[in-house]
Symmetry: C3
Subunit: 233 residues, 3 copies
């Protein structure tokens, strides 16, 4: 292990072979870290969630530890919560946060400043680009592309009515789905396989497989070009 200065690692953390840890890193109790992992300066791993006193979410119990696969990089000042599971060869860039009960599949890239909220599933070989926002309870398949600064939402009631508490619904992006820069996706919407949303659009209806949608609200303008389909890569 290579280790920087001012590092704080709980005594029961399990570290694989050839792990590199930067300066000022904090790793909480029980965290499991694979081989060849790089953790950069100021990263915090295995943090237990704290509930806001005014939160509408249920009280939290102590969660199981975070698991970090082999070959993972965790960037500077990134934060990974307890009970997150990060697959092999995932790259988590600077200032990203991955919340509790999130799984991230192998070889996925989580860009700079990305926030993946609680209870999300992200598949393999996805690219979540700089500053995109993945709302709680979302499901992303494999090879999903989320461009910079995409915004996803899960609350159609904007914080009102008790009824909504049963109805939070994240977004679903099936294998090969792609979302352009600064797109807004409304709660519960589904982007089907290879469905593609042009930059700046607002997605208020599900997007069909291999359909390219544009605008506000986003409508199909044509099919995704063959050479861009996942099966043709």
């Amino acid at each position: 292990m290579q280790k920087g200065q001012n590092v704080i690692i709980a005594s029961d953390v399990l570290l694989g072979d050839n792990v590199t840890i930067g300066n000022n890193v904090v790793i909480y109790e029980g965290t499991i870290i694979g081989n060849n992992v790089i953790i950069q300066d100021n990263a915090v791993i295995g943090k237990q969630p704290t509930r806001a006193k005014a939160s509408i979410l249920p009280d939290v119990k102590k969660l199981p530890p975070a698991k970090i696969g082999s070959g993972v990089t965790v960037g500077t000042s990134a934060i990974i919560y307890a009970n997150a599971e990060i697959g092999d060869d995932v790259f988590i860039a600077d200032l990203a946060t991955v919340r509790e009960r999130v799984t991230v599949g192998e070889k996925t890239i989580v860009g700079r400043g990305v926030a993946i909220e609680n209870d999300c599933t992200v598949g393999n070989r996805c690219k979540l680009e700089t500053n995109c926002y993945i709302t709680a309870y979302s499901k992303l398949g494999n090879n999903v592309f989320v461009a910079p600064c995409v915004v996803t939402t899960n609350d159609n009631f904007m914080g009102r009515t008790k009824e909504r508490l049963d109805k939070f619904k994240g977004v679903t992006v099936k294998d090969g789905g792609r979302i352009g820069a600064n797109v807004t996706v409304l709660p519960g919407k589904v982007i089907h396989e290879d469905g593609t949303v042009a930059a700046g659009s607002i997605v208020s209806r599900d997007v069909k497989s291999e359909s390219l949608v544009v605008g506000s609200p986003a409508k199909e303008i044509r099919k995704v070009p063959d050479e861009q389909l996942l099966r043709n890569q």
Copy 2:
């Protein structure tokens, strides 16, 4: 007090009972911290502002310290400036910043990555969700809901003319006002009581009380449903 490692607390900081302080936390001189406060790893509290040499704002004098109410949580890598006043039971999430001369009312939630710029007033029981941006000189009432990645602005002149220096104007959101995800609010606009803006809209005119507006520019499409009005919660 529970205290992590590498913590730096100025000698004259006033700490309440039962305060929990994480690792690598920095608390500047004179900061007043209430009872039962939780300050997480890498947070910086009471930072004096530094003026850019090319700033158009007046030179800064040393400001009074930050005040943090009882029951407050300050998240990992959050930054709170001097002369900020944080009410009781406020939750400030990871990577949020609260600038100087900002007051945040009790039980408000300041989400992950939120930036509240200088000279803002935020009321009680607001929810400012992940990555939303509250421009300088804004006034938010009580029970205001700001969805993820909302953008507010205060400069109609986009950095040109001397005239503009007198005309910076933040946004105003009255009690119960709600702004949907990725909305853009233009300088000086007012969202009246229970006024609601649909996701992705651009607000270029004031929004009337209990009016639901949509689009670019945002126009009223109907009244806010009764069951979503603040008085019916």
Copy 3:
């Protein structure tokens, strides 16, 4: 030199006169820092890039160090990569990141949370406001104004086809160009001298000199008012 606690400075770093360094700061080998520089808590300077295993970019060699001009401020938790060159009197705010092979001209302000990706050129006296996103391979002239939360893009193929690897193209903003809040600029687009984009627009065509464009897609609605032209400031 004034120096905080827990500071980690590589032995061969070159420090000018009257440098102020906050707590928990990390400065990597070879970094060159001018006179009167202020580096705030938790900042990381001179970080070598790490390539994602699934990255489409070529493998990285060890880069030359970062150079920080005189009079520069680097904010709390800001991150500056190796081979970045920061001009005199630049202000880099909290939580901003400046990647490798970026040059930032003198007196430019890089706002809170701004990300300037790799291989960008930013001129003198620009204002890049809070949370704006400058995509890789972009070129910004002098006196460019980028409002909060602007999104720029460089990949028309959204992560598909090999062909695209030759075609990444950042955005170009010529001297005096201005981009309003939450605007989306598509790959390769050029905003000519004093061209101005209204807030919330989507730029899918080049913007002519002194033209004010609005909408989605953005179209000219009038000329920029004389008193706002750069030459009249």
